[in-house]
């Protein structure tokens, strides 16, 4: 990401009281202590039943209004991409898509719940079309097709993988007009899917962004039930995740792709990548394709590695007790990956959000990059002293450790509900502890490599 390499790279060397590698060991110690504390202090399942209380009833007009805002923002981004200056720095589209949409919406989902469901422009358009069709049609609308159960969340996982491929491997990733065309193509695909399989079914299974952010929103203290907004205890939403085919894949893709983003900016990939590119050049690929293929191999390889690590952890659990297969346990514990996926995203993209996110200030006044000043903020800049490099490092380490401790808590609680006694439940989690330590170490290594 040419535009954002600067923002990633800004997390330069910091003056920390202890060396960075020590953070890795300290994080592992925190996880071990958390594990021991859970074993002693958390004797029965607490999170399996959904709890909470109703806060307020949302007026009916709110969702259509937010949907209209979403459609407006989508149209503005596509228009800017197609008609604005074809420069990633000056055009609104790349920053909105990669920073505010991709990173910002994940953070919003964890803080405030499934906000994107209301804001989702293609869902809003589909709902509006369905409403009009119901209004003008004299007969009842035909029922949607049955969504194939086997597909599950696989279309969502593949959508996210393709999006991140564009972000990290595609050579024209910053080209505003190409991004706008891809956004239109994505929206068209979602509309077709919703027309065939029903709006909510499609949105809950196949729309990559909606599915991922709905999944993240399970960590939020707020949730919607019809028109009511509820508040619930921390982490209570995650165990309610319905596990269908592709759910683990979606979360593994989320972790693996973020990992590759970090890895591809580090020194190891700086030396491995060119060798891999050269290999593709030697077997006859052109210059552009060489780089794209090398990054594709790295991206897919990292996703597979993360998947393999989770699979090994789950496989270790099958040694405890009887009657649980690897496949069954992989589904039962899939929700423990939600805080990890979010922690990875926050840790990796926090500097991008903190710095490049400020670009919205001037881009909103000059979205096309043609010198207009709609709101008088076109001259605003990015304040790089808003967050210090040391501050960013602490946020990153804090996010990784908290995310993995949350993963341990979710896993412990599910184990208590799955195994016949506490001793077996704790024993089954030995391997999950290793998975968590492994993911924390990987995350810290990626970040430390990036900042060295």
């Amino acid at each position: 990401m040419n535009l954002f390499v600067l923002a990633h790279g800004l997390v330069g060397r910091t003056d920390l009281p202890i060396p960075k590698w020590l953070f890795g060991w300290a994080a592992a110690v925190v996880l071990v202590l958390s594990f021991a504390a859970l074993a002693v202090l958390w004797p029965k399942p607490e999170l399996q039943e959904e709890r909470g209380r109703r806060l307020f009833r949302m007026p009916r007009f709110v969702e259509p209004v937010i949907g209209l805002l979403g459609v407006g923002a989508f149209v503005a981004v596509v228009y800017a991409g197609l008609r604005g200056a074809q420069d990633a720095q000056d055009n609104l589209a790349p920053t909105i898509i990669y920073v505010h949409f991709w990173v910002g919406m994940a953070v919003v989902s964890v803080l405030f719940g499934d906000v994107f469901r209301a804001l989702n422009p293609w869902r809003a358009i589909a709902r509006f079309v369905a409403w009009i069709a119901n209004l003008v049609s004299r007969e009842e609308m035909p029922a949607p097709l049955q969504y194939p159960a086997k597909l599950g969340r696989w279309p969502a996982a593949i959508s996210i993988l393709i999006f991140v491929w564009v972000e990290l491997a595609y050579v024209n990733r910053d080209d505003p007009s190409q991004l706008a065309i891809m956004a239109l193509a994505y929206a068209a695909f979602q509309l077709i899917g919703m027309a065939f399989f029903g709006i909510e079914t499609w949105e809950n299974r196949a729309d990559g962004f909606q599915v991922l952010w709905t999944t993240y929103s399970r960590l939020a203290p707020f949730r919607r039930r019809g028109q009511d907004v509820w508040v619930r205890p921390p982490l209570n939403g995650a165990p309610q995740l319905d596990v269908v085919p592709g759910t683990v894949a979606l979360l593994v893709v989320a972790i693996g792709t973020t990992s590759f983003d970090g890895f591809s900016n580090g020194p190891l990939w700086a030396s491995l990548g060119p060798d891999l590119s050269k290999f593709f050049g030697d077997i006859g690929f052109g210059l552009t394709a060489q780089g794209e293929l090398a990054n594709t191999v790295g991206l897919v390889g990292m996703v597979l590695l993360v998947g393999l690590f989770y699979h090994l952890g789950i496989r270790g659990m099958t040694n405890v007790g009887t009657g649980h297969t690897t496949k069954e346990l992989a589904g039962l514990f899939a929700h423990t990956l939600i805080p990890i996926a979010f922690a990875y995203a926050l840790a990796h993209y926090f500097s991008l959000l903190a710095y490049q996110g400020q670009a919205l200030g001037y881009l909103i006044s000059d979205p096309l990059g043609n010198g207009t000043n709609l709101f008088g903020t076109a001259g605003a800049g990015i304040n790089y002293s808003a967050v210090t490099a040391t501050g960013i490092w602490y946020v990153q380490v804090g996010a990784l450790v908290c995310g993995h401790v949350a993963g341990l808590m979710l896993a412990h609680d599910r184990a208590l509900a799955t195994y016949p006694n506490q001793r077996e439940a704790v024993r089954s989690q030995y391997w999950m502890l290793i998975v968590m330590i492994g993911f924390t170490s990987l995350g810290l290594w990626l970040l430390s490599a990036l900042t060295s």
Partner: protein, 44 residues
């Protein structure tokens, strides 16, 4: 070719960041074996 050619890059990091994982795996295997032994003794 790679990855051995770049061992200078990844070997120190592997030792530093992979250390907790390796120690963890060994500790888990040890604890698991001990628990199994205890189970065996209990069941006669």
């Amino acid at each position: 070719m790679f990855p051995l050619a770049h061992a200078g890059h990844w070997l120190p990091d592997l030792l530093i960041y992979g250390g907790p994982v390796v120690i963890g795996i060994l500790a888990v295997r040890y604890a698991d074996r001990k628990e199994r032994k205890k189970d065996k003794e209990k069941n006669g």
